[in-house]
C-alpha cells in the first residue's frame, strides 16, 4: 500500500473528514504558532505547526481506516508533542480548517500506546477513583495533599509538582447530598422530558465542589425544571489528555449506555464542567472514534449550563428576576469552553444581573489545561502561560473571579488568592438576592 492509496482511501466520498489528513490543507502560514500559549513561553514545545501538520507526514499510517492494515510508522518524529497542553487555540485560529490540536492529541496518544503508562499519568487520569478514595479518607487526604512534606514526597516519587494547585475533597460528595432527585437510568417512570433535564455533574462537582452542583440544581429548579441525576462515571477527558485511550473508551461506553436512554427519550443533558460537556459533545467521536447512533444522540443532547440558560432566555423562558450583585467581576473563559464554539454565554447571563459588571479578561489560557500544569516538568510552563492573566487579576484587585472550568478555577485561585466561582453560582446567588429583597 502506498501513501497515495492511503490518501485515496481516507478521502473517499462518505468518509468522515480525517483529522490527520486535514494536514494537507496547511498553508504553513504559522498563524497557529502565534496563537499557541505554550510555544510562547518555552522552547520545549516547537509550536503547533511543527508538531502538527508538519510532523503529520511521518504519521500518516496511523490515519488508516480501521481494518485496512496499518503501516509500521514512527508515531512522531520526536517527543516534543508531549509538551502540547491541548488547549485547542491552534485549531480555532487556523484559517485553513486544519485540525491541529486534535492531530497533536492523537500523536500524544500514539506516543504512549503499547507502553505501560507512567504511574503518575495513570493516577491523574483516574479522577473518579482518586475522588472516591479521597472522599473516603477525608480529612486525612486533604491534610496530606496540602502538607508540604507529603507534597515534596509526591513530587519526588510521582512527579506531581509540590506547588501545583490540588483541590480539597468535599466532606460529603454531591451525590450523597441529593434529596428526592431521580437518580436511576431512564424508565417510563422518570419525570417528563419537557420539564426535566439530566445533570452530568462530572468528578469536580461530585468530589470537590458540591456547591457548584447545588447551584446548578437551584438555578434549573428555579426555571421550572426537575433535575435528574443519573448514574455516571468520569467523562474520560483526564484519561484522554494523558494518552490513555483504552480506559477512556470504557468510561465513554458506560456514560453513553446510561445517557443515550435519556437522549433518545428527548431529555437535554446539562453539565457544569465545560470539559466534561465538551468530551460528551465532541471527544468521544473525534478522539475515541466512538461514532455510533447512541454516541451521536448523547452528543447532540448535551449542553453547557450557561449555553442552555442563554437558549432559554432567547426563547423568553428564562426567569430573569435576578437580585442585584453590586460588584466588578473579572471573567476568564476556559480553553475547553472555546472549543464548544458557543461564544461566551456566561457573559450574556451576567448582563442580566443588576449591578454586576463582568469584565472579559481576554487571556487565552490559565496554563493548567486539565492535568498538564500539575506535572513537575510542566508546572513552571503552566504558570508562565497564565502569568499575564494572574497579573491582570491581581492588578484589578477583585475578590471574586468567574470561570466555567474547575481546573482553571483551582489554578487561578492558587496563583492569585482570589475566590473563584462558577458562573452558575453567581446566578444562584442573584436569584437568592431577589428573594431576599422581595418584601
Amino acid at each position: 500500500m502506498t501513501i497515495a492509496d492511503i490518501v485515496a482511501q481516507a478521502s473517499a466520498p462518505g468518509q468522515p473528514r480525517s483529522v490527520g489528513l486535514s494536514a494537507d490543507e496547511c498553508l504553513k502560514c504559522n498563524v497557529c504558532t502565534t496563537a499557541c500559549p505554550v510555544a510562547r513561553v518555552t522552547d520545549l514545545f516547537p509550536g503547533p505547526k511543527y508538531s502538527g501538520p508538519q510532523a503529520q507526514r511521518f504519521r500518516l499510517g496511523s490515519e488508516l481506516a480501521p481494518g485496512s492494515g496499518r503501516l509500521s510508522v514512527v508515531p512522531s518524529p520526536d517527543r516534543s508533542v508531549d509538551y502540547c497542553s491541548g488547549c485547542g487555540f491552534c485549531t480555532t485560529a487556523c484559517p485553513a480548517d486544519v485540525k491541529i490540536a486534535e492531530m497533536n492529541n492523537r500523536a500524544r496518544g500514539a506516543l504512549r500506546s503499547g507502553r505501560r503508562p507512567r504511574l503518575r499519568d495513570w493516577l491523574l487520569g483516574q479522577t473518579d477513583l482518586t475522588g472516591r478514595l479521597g472522599g473516603l479518607t477525608e480529612p486525612l487526604a486533604n491534610w496530606g495533599l496540602h502538607n508540604r512534606l507529603v507534597r515534596v514526597l509526591i513530587d519526588r516519587i510521582l512527579r506531581i509538582d509540590r506547588r501545583a494547585p490540588l483541590p480539597r475533597f468535599a466532606r460529603r460528595s454531591f451525590r450523597s447530598r441529593l434529596g428526592r432527585h431521580w437518580r436511576g437510568r431512564w424508565s417510563a417512570n422518570a419525570p417528563a422530558p419537557a420539564t426535566s433535564v439530566v445533570y452530568f455533574h462530572g468528578c469536580a462537582a461530585n468530589y470537590y465542589e458540591p456547591e457548584v452542583g447545588q447551584a446548578a440544581i437551584d438555578v434549573l429548579e428555579r426555571n421550572g425544571f426537575t433535575v435528574i441525576v443519573p448514574p455516571q462515571v468520569c467523562c474520560g477527558l483526564p484519561l484522554i489528555s494523558n494518552g490513555l485511550y483504552a480506559p477512556a473508551r470504557g468510561r465513554a461506553r458506560s456514560n453513553i449506555a446510561v445517557l443515550a436512554g435519556y437522549a433518545r427519550a428527548g431529555y437535554r443533558i446539562v453539565g457544569t464542567s465545560t470539559s466534561c460537556t465538551h468530551t460528551l459533545k465532541a471527544e468521544y467521536r473525534e478522539m475515541l472514534d466512538i461514532d455510533d447512533a447512541d454516541a451521536r444522540m448523547v452528543a447532540e443532547a448535551t449542553w453547557d449550563i450557561c449555553e442552555l440558560l442563554v437558549d432559554l432566555h432567547a426563547q423568553g423562558r428564562l426567569d430573569t428576576r435576578f437580585g442585584a450583585l453590586d460588584r466588578t467581576l473579572p471573567y476568564h473563559a476556559p480553553c475547553q469552553l472555546r472549543s464548544h464554539g458557543i461564544g461566551l454565554p456566561a457573559l450574556d447571563l451576567f448582563e442580566l444581573v443588576p449591578g454586576l459588571r463582568a469584565i472579559d479578561l481576554d487571556h487565552d489560557c490559565c496554563g493548567i489545561a486539565g492535568t498538564y500544569g500539575l506535572k513537575s516538568e510542566k508546572y513552571e510552563i503552566a504558570m508562565a502561560v497564565g502569568k499575564p492573566l494572574f497579573e491582570r487579576i491581581r492588578a484589578g484587585g477583585a475578590e471574586q473571579v468567574a470561570c466555567d472550568s474547575e481546573t482553571c478555577r483551582w489554578q487561578i485561585a492558587a496563583a492569585t488568592g482570589a475566590r473563584l466561582r462558577h458562573p452558575v453560582e453567581l446566578l444562584a446567588e442573584a436569584y437568592d438576592a431577589y428573594l431576599a429583597a422581595e418584601p
Binding site: R40, A96, L280
Partner: protein, 434 residues
Amino acid sequence: MATADVAVVGAGLAGLTAAIRLAEAGARVHVLAAGHATTHWAPGGIDLGALPDSRTSQEAIDRLAMVPGHPYGVLAAELPAALAWLRAVLAREGFELEGAPGDPLRAIPTAIGATRLAALLPAGMAGALPAWAPDETLVVCGPAGFRDFWPEAIAGALRRPSSWRGQTPPGRIEAVSVELPGLAGRRNLSSLDLARLFDDPAWRRAALEGIARAVAARSRAPGRVALPAILGLNDHPAALAAAREILPLLPFEVALAPPSVPGLRLYAVLRGALRRHGGRLQVGEAVHGTIDAAGRVAELRAPAAAREFVLSAGAVVLATGGIAGGGIVADGPATLREEVLGLPVDGPPAGNWLSDDALSPAGHPLETAGIRTDRHLRPVAPAGSTADGRPIAENVRVAGSLLAGQRYLRERCGDGVALASGVLAARKLAGVAR
C-alpha cells in the same frame, strides 16, 4: 441561540473596523471569524493604493475611483475620515501611522531584498519612507541564526539599482549579522520569539547595544539601519523608543514572511478596542446563513461541537475576504461560490481563471472575483438577471476584499477599501436594533 444587533463575519481590517465603529455607536456586535488571517499575514503598512505609474497613493485612489465598478468609486470619499479614525484608535495605544495619502510612494526594502511601494507605515517601519541621499548608508542588520532575514542576501539584492523602482538608492549598502544575548544555543527562532524578547527592557537594552556596536563598526552617519520587524510584540512603542535612543543610525523595521509581527500588533490594538466597547469576537467558526423570502438574513449558523451555533442578528456585515482570504472559493472547475450566504459572485468566466504567468503584472485573474453591491454596500442581483443591480439582501453589507471590481493586491488598495468600507458599512447600519 445567541443574539446581537449586528453580526460581523470576518476579523480582518474591514470586519474589525465595521465592528468597532458599530460598537462605538452603542450596537451589540458579535464578530465571527473562520480563523485569523490577513492581519497576521499582511506586512504591516496601510496600503491605500499604488499603481505602477502613480506618484502618490492619492493619485492611485483618484484613478481607481474612475474605473467603472471599482469600490473606490463609492468609497474614496470615505477614506480621509476612516484614516483619521484609525490613527486615533492606534494613538490611544501609543502607535503612530506615519505618512499621508498625498505623500510620494516610496520603494521600501523587504526581507527578500526586493522593494514594495508604500506611503503610510507604522512608526517602526516609517524610517524607510524619506528619500535616500547619495551619501547615506543602509546597514541591513539581523540576528545571527534567524532564518527569515538574511542580511547578506538582502543587501546583495538591494545593491542592484533595478530593485529601487527608479528611485535613488542609498549610496552604500552594508550587511551585518549580530549574535543576540542568550540565543547562541537556541535553534528554530521565529519572529515571534524574537519580538517577545524585545518586550523585555533589560534584554532589549543588551541586544540593542550589541547591534549598535556592530552597526557602528560598519558605518558612520549619515545612514539608516534596516532590522527585521521584531522590535517588540506587546510593548512595541517602548522597544522602538529604545532602538531609536541606542542605535547610532535611524532604525526601521522590515516586513518578514508570515506571521507578521506588525500585523499582530495592529490586531491586538483593534481587538482591544472592540472589547472595550463591549463587542464580542469568536474565532474558529465556519459561518453560513440564508436570505429569507423577505430578503433578510435573520441568523447565522456555524458548526460547533455537536450542534450548530446560532447567532440571531438584526443585520450582517460580510467581510470574509476575496479568493485569497477564503470568502470566495472555487467550487469545482467552473463555479465561484461565496462561502457564507451563497451570494452571486462577479468574476472572470470559467476558463479564464488561470494565467500562464504566475507573476503577471496584470495580477491573478481570480483576484477580481467578488460581490457586486449598490452604493449602500448591499449585495445586488447579478448582471444580466431581470433584477440586475437591485439589492438582494436588505440587511447585509459587504466590506473589504470581498467587494468586486478591485485587484486588492495588484492595485495595493486592500487596506484602504477595507477601512473605508468598514466605516461606511457601520454608518449604514447605525441605528439597527434587533
